[in-house]
Amino acid sequence: MKVRIEQRGGFAGKLAVGERDLNDLTPAQRAALDKLVRSSPPPSPPTHIHPLRYRITITDHSGTRTVDVPEDQMPDELTSIPEIEL
């Protein structure tokens, strides 16, 4: 069971990706992820130039789900997961 987080956009325009086993998330990360998936943020227009955009894909016993999250709704607990690959 895992979560994959992709980050795109921003000033740098670089793709950042991170994957974690759901069991390896900290309690705060797990809580933030669960809350995000439950709330399923609706598409919203960006509030500023070159926003970051996130795509979260969760694969668990019930299948695969994808949630697109705008920058201002992405919790800080999860933003450290995607890393830019150099």
């Binding site: 795109r8 956009g9 921003g10 000033f11 740098a12 325009g13 670089k14 950042a16 598409p43 919203s44 227009p45 960006p46 509030t47 500023h48 130039i49 070159h50 926003p51 970051l52 920058e71 201002d72 800080d76 933003t79 450290s80 890393e83 830019i84 150099l86």
Partner: protein, 349 residues
């Protein structure tokens, strides 16, 4: 096909909203339609709202400035205001009373922002981002390890970077100049942040940001250091991999770029990020400035500023339309040959 109504005079007709946004929304809820079609309708509906928000942000930013019914007796000098977000998303954050003695971050942003205002005034005759002396507000330490900096229609916001790939985003003067120039573009052509106009929006910010940095360091156009974007924000991991900058306007595809870009319209990617395709007009300007010679702030940047502000650039301008505007401006300045050669080198039709 959706189109966009343009408030400015423009050389090619921008489009008008033929289908009202609420109709898009209502149709997208029709379950008898293919899911792919419904998704597209939803995306288009979201995009129209994005455009409205961006325009409204610009309109509000303009209206927020105090307007007197009496003629101005003296020009307003912009004040630099610095705030600390304390690693939250709250904007603008806590005011920093005396930024020049409040640590390196506050003093750097305060001083460089003031110098950007000086650059616009002394080189281009422009009084601040809006042309009317609006105060320049900057917020530092936005969120945690935030790999971004942005202009939100009213102010600047800087992240501290992740500390590995990127350092603090105010560490490069060109980045500060870049972001404030988004505000200038907002008050001028209002280039839409997508496709070719979006890439132009990004390029114009790189152009003015880089020339501001050159002006600050007194680097002539021939100095290749002056064409690097984001050299100061490269973190230790980036430097260890031999990346010296985020972008290189003179050599957009160079291996030392953390974000290589195309340098020719032949490689324009219609699905590409606006920060990718901006490499094409970036290279055109860098070649133009070097062909003109001397310092880019003496003549080349003034041609580009003329094109951005005096040639009725549409918010939906294409590369070709922007090229035409710069050629007009260059002709007025007696350097059309250099401009034509630069655009030819990047194959913009």
């Amino acid at each position: 096909m959706l189109a966009h109504h343009d408030d400015h005079h423009h050389r090619s007709c921008g489009c008008c909203f033929i289908v009202p946004p609420r109709v898009l929304r209502d149709i997208s809820r029709d379950t008898s339609l293919d899911i792919g079609v419904r998704k597209k309708l939803q995306e288009t509906f979201a995009e129209t709202n994005r455009l409205k928000v961006m325009r409204e942000a610009g309109r509000i930013a303009t209206l927020m400035q105090a307007r007197s019914i009496a003629p101005k007796l003296a020009e307003t000098t912009p004040q630099e205001q610095i705030f600390d977000c304390k690693h939250t998303q709250n904007l603008p954050g806590k005011p920093i009373g005396n930024p020049q003695s409040a640590g390196e971050a506050a003093s750097t942003v305060f001083n460089i922002t003031r110098q950007v205002a000086d650059f616009y005034r002394s080189v281009l005759g422009r009084n601040s981002v809006d042309g009317e002396g609006m105060d320049l507000v900057s917020s530092l330490h936005y969120r945690q390890h935030f790999d971004n900096a942005f202009w939100n229609g009213q102010q600047m916001v800087y992240g501290d970077g992740d500390g590995s790939v990127f350092t603090e985003f105010y560490n490069s003067p060109d980045v500060i100049g870049h972001e404030l120039t988004h505000g200038v573009t907002q008050h001028e052509s209002g280039l839409r942040y997508e496709g070719e106009p979006g890439a132009l929006n990004e390029s114009i910010s790189d152009v003015f940001g880089s020339v501001f940095h050159q002006w600050l360091e007194k680097w002539p156009a021939a100095n290749s250091d002056g064409w690097l974007i984001g050299a100061g924000i490269m973190g230790p991991k980036s430097l260890a991999k031999k990346y010296t900058c985020l972008r290189d306007m003179l050599d957009p595809g160079a291996s030392h770029c953390l974000s290589p870009q195309p340098g020719s319209y032949d490689n324009f990617d219609p699905a590409g990020d606006v920060h990718e395709n901006s490499g094409i007009p970036n290279r055109a300007f860098a070649l133009f400035a070097q062909a003109v010679g001397g310092n880019a702030w003496d003549q080349a940047i003034k041609v580009w500023y003329d094109a951005c502000t005096q040639r009725h650039l549409s918010s939906g301008a294409t590369f070709s339309e922007f090229k035409a505007a710069t050629l007009e401006a260059a002709a007025a300045a007696g350097v059309q040959q250099q401009a034509a050669a630069a655009w030819k080198a990047v194959n913009v039709p």
